[in-house]
């Protein structure tokens, strides 16, 4: 019962641990910019702490490299429950430009579960504050997937029996016979 009362205050004081698992430091600098007087995220009660055991939110940036993936996993396990993970920057969200290089496993969601994605290269400090405000429930989500369908398939062809539809894609098998 005391826990339910105290849970209300969880969002008012989030302690953040910044973890860089191989990035170029661009997003590092933007995260540190968010703590400067101009953008000042400390007015939401967010404090940067030096140890994952003190933190609630892990801000990860940089893709998961082969050598840093075990360290990332251990840092994630060191954060006590309840926890949140933010993936900041395009490297952490999807592997970035380095997604197929020799030492990168991929985005960090291959190693630890991620709750919020903030894409950008690097994301503006306002974009990071927007992501934090989204997690706190202060603003609404603006990114919506868009799809454009001009017409419906299948299209009548000379040989309609050679078209087969699977999973919403229609393919025409006999390409040479027109």
């Amino acid at each position: 019962m005391l826990k339910d009362f105290l849970k209300k205050y969880f969002g008012r004081s989030l302690w953040v641990y910044h973890c860089n698992s191989g990035g170029c430091n661009g997003c590092d600098i933007e995260v540190v910019n968010v703590l400067t007087p101009y953008y000042d995220v400390e007015r939401f009660g967010i404090k940067l702490v030096g140890s994952p055991r003190h933190a609630d939110v892990m801000l990860c940036q940089g893709p998961a490299g082969r050598a840093t993936a075990p360290a990332l996993k251990r840092a994630y396990e060191a954060v006590p429950e309840p926890k949140l993970v933010f993936a900041i920057g395009s490297c952490a969200c999807g592997g970035g430009l380095w997604h197929d290089t020799y030492n990168i496993i991929g985005p960090i969601e291959k190693v630890i579960p991620v709750h919020f994605y903030i894409p950008g290269c690097p994301p503006r400090p306002e974009a990071i504050i927007y992501g934090v405000a989204l997690a706190l429930g202060v603003v609404e989500k603006k990114a919506v997937p868009t799809e454009y369908h001009p017409m419906k398939l299948p299209i009548v062809r000379y040989h309609p029996e050679d078209i087969h539809v699977e999973k919403g894609w229609a393919t025409y098998d006999k390409l040479e016979k027109v």
Binding site: R124, Y130, V178
Partner: protein, 174 residues
């Protein structure tokens, strides 16, 4: 004295006031040439796949489910907002908008997918591209020499300069 100088430092920093921006409450304008998320306009896309071939992060995928349809899918995960796709697009179908508020709990929320209807050749049914000048020399349907006047008709867009480049040689032009 040392302590007085520290006191002066405090008073000086108080003169600056509070410089914090009230960001989530008030919207914040961006500089003019800021590159935010690319927005694909499906009415202008011709399906040339130039953006997909040149994306450094390989985030734009092209698939042809059948002869007349080409699907262009932009997955926003790895996009570095470099703007190459917008630079390259011959029809200016991609615009780098100024939106930077792209955070969301699911990474598939910034995906944009377009299905483009492609024109096809009436004879073979395949999507075509026009033959180049060398191929036109060999193909039927591209020669229009004037048989009545017995003249060769040039179809190249290049032209011969009437002024000789080198002044001491006399070149006879037809």
């Amino acid at each position: 004295m040392y302590l007085l100088s520290k006191l002066r430092e405090t008073i000086l920093s108080l003169k600056a006031g509070r410089v914090t921006l009230t960001y989530p409450v008030d919207p914040r304008p961006v500089p003019e040439r800021f590159r935010g998320r690319p927005v694909f306009q499906p009415e202008r896309c011709i399906g040339c796949a130039g953006c997909a071939n040149n994306c450094p992060a390989r985030e734009i995928l092209i698939a042809d489910p059948c002869q007349e349809m080409r699907v262009v899918m932009y997955l926003g995960r790895r996009c570095t907002y470099c703007g190459r796709c917008a630079d390259l697009c011959p029809e200016n179908a991609i615009v780098m908008s100024q939106e930077y508020e792209n955070a969301s709990p699911k990474i598939t929320d910034i995906r944009q997918s377009l299905e483009i209807w492609m024109g096809t050749c009436q004879r073979c049914g395949r999507c075509f591209k026009d033959a180049g000048p060398l191929d036109q020399l060999m193909m039927k349907g591209y020669r229009f020499d004037d048989l009545g006047a017995e003249l060769w008709v040039y179809k190249s867009r290049a032209y011969l300069d009437r002024e000789p480049v080198v002044k001491d040689i006399d070149i006879e032009l037809d």
